[in-house]
Symmetry: C2
Subunit: 421 residues, 2 copies
C-alpha cells in the first residue's frame, strides 16, 4: 500500500469522525432539512450526474460489460428523480436517535437510562449500482452517522457526482460536507486501507457478491455486517392448505427470482406429496420454472424433473429454478434446513398450530414464516420504511436492517454523589 493511499483514507476517516460528532448532536429537524435539501440538490445537478454516468457507460461498453450490468449502471432522468424521491422519503421516517430504550434505578439509587445513539462512522463498500450511493448515505445520515462510501470502478464517475451533490446538500443546511464522503480510489488496496481504519470507522457494511463480502470480513478490524445469500425453504406440512401452499410457493419462487428472500428449495411432507406435487409443478412449469428433485419427487413427477444433487441443496439459484425434496415429516424438514440453509428466510405451510410452533422455534433463521411467502423478509414489508439490506449475521442486526439497526445505545447515569463501597 502506498503512503499516499493510507494518508488519504486516514484523512477521510478523521474528517468523517469529526462530522459524526456534529451529526450525533443534530436535531431531527436539522437532519430532515438536510435530506430534503439533498433531494433538491440531486435534482438540480441532474445534468452533471447524467453526464458523469455517460462516462461510466462509455467505459463499460468499451470494456465489454454485459447488457445486464450496463442496465444496472445506467441512469436517466427518471432514475435520478427516483433516487431523489427515495432521499425525500427517508426524511419522512421517524428519527430513531434519542429513544429511551429502558430506564431503571438499581439498588445503589442511580438513575440509569439506556438511550439510542448513532453508531458513529459507517463504511459502505459496494458494487455496481450508483443508487446505493444515495440510498445508503441517506439512511446513515438520518440515523446520525457519517458515511464513507466506496463504490465499484464501473460506476465511479456516477458515484462521485452523486456523492458530491450529497455533500453539497449537507453543507447548504449547515451540516458538515464530510458527513458523506466517497473514496474514489477503486483499487483493492483502498478496501484494505478502509478495513484497517478501526480507529475512525465503527462499522463496515459490504453490499455485493460473496467474494467482496469475504474479502472485507477477512481484512476488517472493525465489526462487519454481512448480507450473504439466502438459501430459503418452504416446507409444506401434512396438514397444509394445499391451495395456499401452491400460491405461496409460486409467489416465493416467481415474483422476483433474483433476490435473496426468494425460495430455492421446496420440502414436501410425504403424506401430501402425491396430491400436492403434480398440481404445484404444473403451476411452476407454467411460469417457466425448472424443477429438480430427489428420487421420491421424480417418482411422482417423472423424468421431466432432473435429479437434484448434493450441490443443489446448497445453491442460491437466483433464477427460475427450484429443487424439491419429499420428507417424512417436520423433523427431517428442520434437519434439511439446518444442514443446507443459510439461516435467512424459511417458511412452513400448515393448518396445525402445534407443528407450526415447533417449526418457528426450531428453525434458526432471521425470519421464520408460517403460512406466508418468504419474500416478506424485507424492511419495507416489515414496516421499517427503508432498509440498507437483509443481514445474515446474528449480532447487532439480524434480518432487515432499517434505521434502528444503524444505531447503537449508551447508558446515561444520574447520581447524587454515589461512590462504590
Amino acid at each position: 500500500m502506498t503512503m499516499d493511499l493510507t494518508a488519504i483514507v486516514e484523512n477521510i476517516g478523521q474528517q468523517a469522525r469529526k462530522a459524526s460528532r456534529v451529526l450525533a448532536q443534530a436535531s431531527t429537524v436539522q437532519k430532515n432539512d438536510a435530506l430534503v435539501t439533498i433531494a433538491d440538490q440531486l435534482e438540480q445537478e441532474l445534468e452533471m450526474i447524467l453526464e458523469a454516468n455517460r462516462v461510466d457507460l462509455d467505459a463499460g461498453t468499451e470494456k465489454g460489460l454485459g447488457a445486464v450490468i450496463l442496465d444496472r449502471l445506467r441512469l436517466d432522468e427518471k432514475r435520478v428523480r427516483a433516487i431523489a424521491k427515495s432521499v425525500h422519503e427517508v426524511a419522512t421516517l421517524p428519527d430513531p436517535v434519542g429513544e429511551i430504550l429502558r430506564e431503571w434505578s438499581p439498588v445503589n439509587g442511580l438513575q440509569i437510562s439506556k438511550v439510542r445513539v448513532p453508531i458513529g462512522v459507517i463504511g459502505i463498500i459496494y458494487e455496481s449500482r450508483p443508487n446505493v450511493t444515495s440510498d445508503a448515505a441517506s439512511l446513515c445520515l438520518k440515523a446520525g452517522n457519517a458515511v464513507i462510501l466506496r463504490g465499484g470502478s464501473e460506476s465511479v464517475h456516477s458515484n462521485i457526482a452523486i456523492a458530491e451533490a450529497l455533500g453539497r446538500g449537507c453543507k447548504r443546511t449547515g451540516l458538515p460536507a464530510e458527513s458523506v464522503q466517497l473514496l474514489s480510489n477503486t483499487d483493492r488496496a483502498a478496501v484494505t486501507a478502509m478495513a484497517r481504519l478501526d480507529r475512525y470507522i465503527h462499522l463496515i457494511i459490504p453490499r455485493g457478491g460473496r467474494s467482496l463480502i469475504e474479502t472485507v470480513s477477512a481484512e476488517a478490524r472493525m465489526p462487519v455486517i454481512k448480507h450473504y445469500d439466502g438459501i430459503c425453504h418452504i416446507y409444506v406440512g401434512r396438514a397444509a392448505n394445499l391451495q395456499m401452499a401452491q400460491e405461496i410457493v409460486v409467489n416465493a419462487k416467481c415474483q422476483r427470482p433474483g433476490v435473496c428472500n426468494a425460495v430455492e428449495t421446496l420440502l414436501v411432507d410425504e403424506a401430501v406429496a402425491p396430491t400436492f406435487l403434480p398440481r404445484c409443478a404444473e403451476a411452476l412449469w407454467s411460469q417457466g420454472v425448472k424443477l429438480l428433485g430427489d428420487a421420491l419427487t421424480r417418482e411422482i413427477l417423472g423424468e421431466k424433473v432432473a435429479m437434484a444433487t448434493e450441490e443443489d441443496w446448497q445453491t442460491e439459484y437466483l433464477d427460475l429454478v427450484l429443487s424439491i425434496r419429499v420428507v417424512p415429516g417436520l423433523h427431517e424438514a428442520v434437519e434439511h434446513i439446518e444442514t443446507y440453509g443459510s439461516h435467512h428466510s424459511d417458511a412452513i405451510v400448515t393448518d396445525e398450530a402445534k407443528t407450526a410452533q415447533k417449526f418457528l422455534s426450531q428453525v434458526d433463521s432471521a425470519a421464520v414464516f408460517w403460512n406466508a411467502s418468504t419474500r416478506f423478509n424485507d424492511g419495507g414489508e416489515f414496516g421499517f420504511g427503508a432498509e440498507i439490506g437483509i443481514s445474515t449475521d446474528r449480532l447487532h442486526a439480524r434480518g432487515p436492517m432499517g434505521l434502528e439497526e444503524l444505531t447503537t445505545y449508551k447508558y446515561l447515569v444520574r447520581g447524587e454523589g454515589q461512590v462504590r463501597v
Copy 2:
C-alpha cells in the same frame, strides 16, 4: 497449522453447534437444573480440581511466574466453593430467552414477533484465571448458548478439571455434555483455528490483555466483542459540589485502582481549580496516589506533581496514579475526553443540570455519569446480576455484558396465506 489441530477444532465446533440447537430449545427449568447440578458437581470434584491446580502451580513456580500471577492461578477450597456459588447464582437470574421484544402487524396483515433467542455457539479465549472457565460457561449456558473455552497455558490443568466437571453436570441433567467444551491445546495456532471457524462459532469474546484481543480481532472471521482498556475521566465543573467531587474522585481512583472503570484523568474547571485541587490532592496523597499534572495544575499544587506528558493522557495506569489537567470549561473537557479517552466510562460533577445534559449528550462513551463514580459501570451495579465483562465495542453489546447481551433475536411471522404483489 497441522491437520490434527484443524480437525480437532472443527470437531469441537461441530459438537458445540449440535449442542447449541438442543440448548436453544431447553426450558428455563432445564437450564437452571443444569446450573445447580454443575455447582454440585464442582463441589463433588473439589479434590480433583485442587489436584489439577497444584500441577499448574508447580509448573508456574518452576517457570518463575510472579507472585501476583501465581495468586491469580491459585485455587483452594474456599475459592472453588465460591466458583460453585457463582454458578448457583446464575441459576437464580431471569432467563432472557423467549422474551418478546416487539410485536406488530404491518399493512400486509402479517403478525410479526421479534423474540429473543440464544446466539448459538460462543468462543471464549482467556488468560490466566481459572474461575473464568465456569463464570463464562454458566452465563453462556443460562442464555442458551454452547460454549467453547480456550484458556491460557498456565491454568490448563485447572481449566480441564473445571470444564470436565461442567460437562458432567450438564450430562447429569440430560443436556449435552458438549454444551461446555474446553480446547486444551494452548498453542497460538489453536486460537487461529478457532478464529477461522465461523461456520460453527458465532461470536468470540477474548478476555485478557490488549495483545490477545488484537490477535483475535485481526484473525477472527466471526464477530468479536472486545473488552479493551478504560481510560476514564472525571470532569469537575465550575458549579460542582466540591466535597462531592472529592469523594467521587477518591473513590474512582482508590477503591480498586486495577480495574477498567477506575479513573485515570481528572479534568478540573479553571474556575474551581485553585480551591478544589489543593484539598483533593491532599485526600489523594493520603491514599498514596501519585499525581501528574499539566502546567496549570503544577502552578497550584507545586513541584511535588510531576509534569504529565502527552503519553500520560493516553495511559490506563491501573494503579494509584492520576493525571490532572485544568481546563477552561465544558467544551475543552469534552474535547480532551474525545481525543484521549477510550469511550468507556466518563463522569461530570456539577450542580448545573444544563451543563450536565451537554456532557451526557456529547461524551460518546458506553456509560456517562453525572455526580457518580465511574466505578459504577459494572453489570452487578447495573442490576444485571452477573456480567461477562464490559464491552468497549459499540455494536451488539456496549458497556456491561450480562445475560441479555449473550442473546440475539429472530422474527417469527404468522400469516394467513399472504403472498407479495
